[in-house]
């Protein structure tokens, strides 16, 4: 058959570069951001910017350069984080950031791989991957932005939406309770578990930097306002007002009993660093037990042959 195609609009590298040079470098954090990617897509009042800045600060605090780090995201407003950071970044499919990152981290064990994704991405469609990666203790740093809803698709119910909360698909109130994420992460095997809100950037930065120093599967829940998807139907007001709500509701309780950290609508939110422990990660077990045995067996055979 004959194929008719529209004329291609070619990539104009020069024009793109000019546009980039115009603004890039004005902000001290620009060296952490890919040139030409700002303005971002997030709504005014969204908590994602705070979490992104906290991540950059956490990296800096830990003394890690962009060349030592990689970020893997799933799909969602949070998933867009990967596209802004000037490092090796991977924006995968919905829910699959963790298994993709598992492959990346095992193939390149010297890289600090952070999975930066939303609560829906990590715990609805990706929930199974999350618990298995925690069980295996893959060397991944999971930073989960919990805004209690599916922001990207316009504010639907998520597995973190509290009982009775309103979303566009629970217009009469949610009939399901939400996951208690720190409890779940701990039960699945995470070696580091913390929860903060965007009202606690200093503690969040501290936890991020602390988790970056751990070898194994770490989990940080960052509660963030989503005025567009969650704030509006639940009458939490603007992003700023939602921040105020988190200030009033949160109670710092490091090392809290994780059975008490469930989040209920209009009740207190317990934040803190809950778990900080160590156990051999996947690679240590694999190299130390499996590969070492294969090597020992191989050597035995060679000896046998010589004898």
């Amino acid at each position: 058959m004959k194929v008719k195609l529209r004329e291609i609009v070619p990539f104009d590298k020069e024009a793109e570069e000019k546009a980039i040079q115009k603004d890039h470098g004005l902000h001290p954090d620009d060296k952490y951001l890919k040139p030409g990617r700002i303005p971002h897509i997030w709504c005014p009042g969204c908590g994602l910017g705070v979490v992104l800045t906290s991540f950059i600060e956490g990296m800096r605090r830990k003394g890690l350069s962009v060349d030592q780090c990689a970020v893997v995201s799933g799909i969602g407003c949070t998933g867009r984080v990967a596209g802004y950071l000037d490092m090796d970044t991977y924006h995968t499919t919905h829910g699959r950031a963790i298994p993709f990152a598992t492959g990346l981290a095992l193939a390149k064990p010297d890289l600090h791989v952070t999975v930066f994704s939303g609560d829906g991405d990590l715990f609805a469609i990706g929930g199974n991957h999350m618990i298995h990666a925690a069980r295996r203790n893959v060397n991944l740093k999971v930073l989960c932005v919990n805004n209690f809803n599916f922001g990207m698709t316009g504010g639907q119910v998520a597995p973190t939406t509290p009982l009775e909360a309103r979303t566009s698909t629970t217009p009469l109130g949610n009939a399901e309770p939400g996951f208690n994420l720190p409890y779940l992460a701990h039960a699945a095997g995470a070696i580091y578990v913390a929860r903060w809100t965007t009202f606690h950037p200093r503690q969040l930065v501290h936890s991020i930097s602390e988790s970056l120093g751990k070898k194994g599967f770490t989990f940080i829940e960052a509660i963030a306002p989503c005025p567009t998807g969650y704030g509006r139907p639940n009458k939490l007001g603007s992003g700023l007002e939602e921040m105020r709500y988190y200030r009033e509701m949160s109670q710092i309780r490091n090392g809290a009993d994780l059975r008490d950290t469930e989040i209920r609508l209009r009740e207190k939110i317990i934040v803190g660093t809950f778990i900080n422990t160590d156990r051999p990660d996947f690679m240590e077990n694999y190299m130390g037990k499996v590969v070492a045995r294969a090597r020992a067996k191989g050597k035995g055979k060679e000896k046998g042959k010589a004898a």
């Binding site: 195609l5 890919k34 060349d67 991977y90 499919t93 598992t102 193939a107 890289l111």
Partner: protein, 382 residues
């Protein structure tokens, strides 16, 4: 330990094991999979062999995760593969699409069984041909090789790795239960005789490097993690820098590139085996285990003076359309035996453009054709 990666010599192994050895000989050092009959033995061989060569074997929680993990490993700079069968292949489709869109080299071995759904777990099928071509949503180019023996399981897995590196995309080894579980002699050549395409490194400076060059018929050199290029890799429609750009103009460039790199190089990729085609009046078109039976039938017919020929598809995708279009002008009919209710037969019919009759000899799965059935179909034209 390098001596353990290419097991040069004569082996008596099944097709599944040969796929695994082909992968390891190609430099595959990462395997993620999930057990499924009749492909489990690929994973089992990998679980034993990869630790010997310092590679990573991981059994994931499902095939979605397996496919995602091999893409991640590939971006970590390690050649990677997975293996599965129908139900798992269905689950992999989402991230196969991600692999196509992000131009990620890796190999997926599908040892086909009878479907749909759980179907015939232990028995043969060839009904994933169209799924391999079109299974993930959207447009992309596809390369699928169909081995017909354990030896070819080894050889074609090596070829699949090479093609995946050259064209930067997931490549399929489309085996079947008969070939996967068949045990035969497999000769693994000395390392020097193997042609292995190694992954290069970009030469350009970071400022000048375009990780997704859509201009040429070939993809750009891949910059994997840790090389300092800070590539953004996204399943979203992206421009030459890898930046997401949600416009029709960039979609035109991006998609035409991932389709055209295969379409425009099809003549270089397509491989067939021609048996008695020169003067053939009826041609059997077959692939995988079915081509073994077809060869038997055609040889029998020739020994009786019947002008039959065999076109054996080595690459099912890209499909050898031009060749069939030409042949159609010369032959009376194409006989297409396959273990499905019509997949390659439709392609043959489409490309024959009415110039020759097309006969589909369909089996729904669980058994293979008999040579005498094929001979009978051919003889109807003499």
């Amino acid at each position: 330990m390098a001596d353990k990666d290419v097991l040069t010599g004569e082996h008596f192994i099944h097709g599944d094991a040969a796929c695994a050895e082909g992968g390891i000989a190609s430099g595959c050092r990462f395997f993620a999979g999930y057990p499924i009959t009749p492909a489990t033995e690929v994973a089992e061989r990998m679980a034993r062999r990869l630790p010997q060569v310092g590679g990573v074997y991981i059994q994931m929680e499902d095939e979605i995760a397996s496919m995602a993990a091999i893409l991640g490993a590939s971006w970590g700079g390690v050649k990677s593969m997975t293996s599965t069968s129908g139900p798992g292949f269905s689950l992999m489709m989402e991230n196969i699409g991600l692999g196509m869109m992000t131009e990620t080299p890796c190999v997926v071995v599908n040892i086909q069984r009878g479907g749909p759904s759980t179907g015939l777990p232990t028995l043969v099928g060839q009904a994933d041909v169209m799924q391999a071509r079109w299974g993930s949503h959207g447009d992309y180019g596809c390369i699928a090789l169909a081995p017909a023996s354990p030896q070819e399981c080894f050889d074609f897995t090596v070829d699949a790795f090479n093609l995946s590196e050259i064209y930067r995309q997931p490549v399929f080894v489309l085996g079947d239960e008969v070939v996967g579980h068949m045990t035969e002699k497999v000769i693994i050549p000395p390392r020097e005789e193997l042609r292995i395409v190694e992954r290069g490194k970009p030469q350009a400076k970071k400022e000048d490097y375009l990780p997704f060059d859509f201009k040429g018929p070939m993809p750009a050199q891949m910059a994997v993690a840790g090389q300092g290029y800070h590539v953004h890799v996204t399943g979203l429609t992206h421009d030459e820098r890898g930046y997401p750009v949600i416009t029709d103009a960039v979609q035109e460039r991006n998609i035409r590139h991932i389709v055209d790199k295969i379409r425009k190089n099809a003549d270089k990729i397509i491989r067939v085996e021609s048996v008695f085609l020169d003067d053939a009046e009826v041609v059997v078109v077959a692939y995988g285990c079915t081509s073994r039976v077809a060869r038997q039938a055609v040889e029998d017919l020739r020994s009786r003076g019947v002008k039959a020929g065999l076109l054996r598809l080595i690459t099912i995708w890209p499909f050898p359309s031009n060749m069939i279009r030409q042949l159609a002008k010369q032959v009376k009919a194409f006989i297409v035996p396959e273990i499905n209710y019509g997949q390659v037969a439709y392609e043959v019919e489409r490309t024959a453009q009415g110039n020759a009759e097309v006969v589909l000899m369909a089996l729904m799965g669980g058994s293979i054709h008999r040579p005498d059935e094929i001979e009978e179909s051919v003889l109807e034209y003499f």
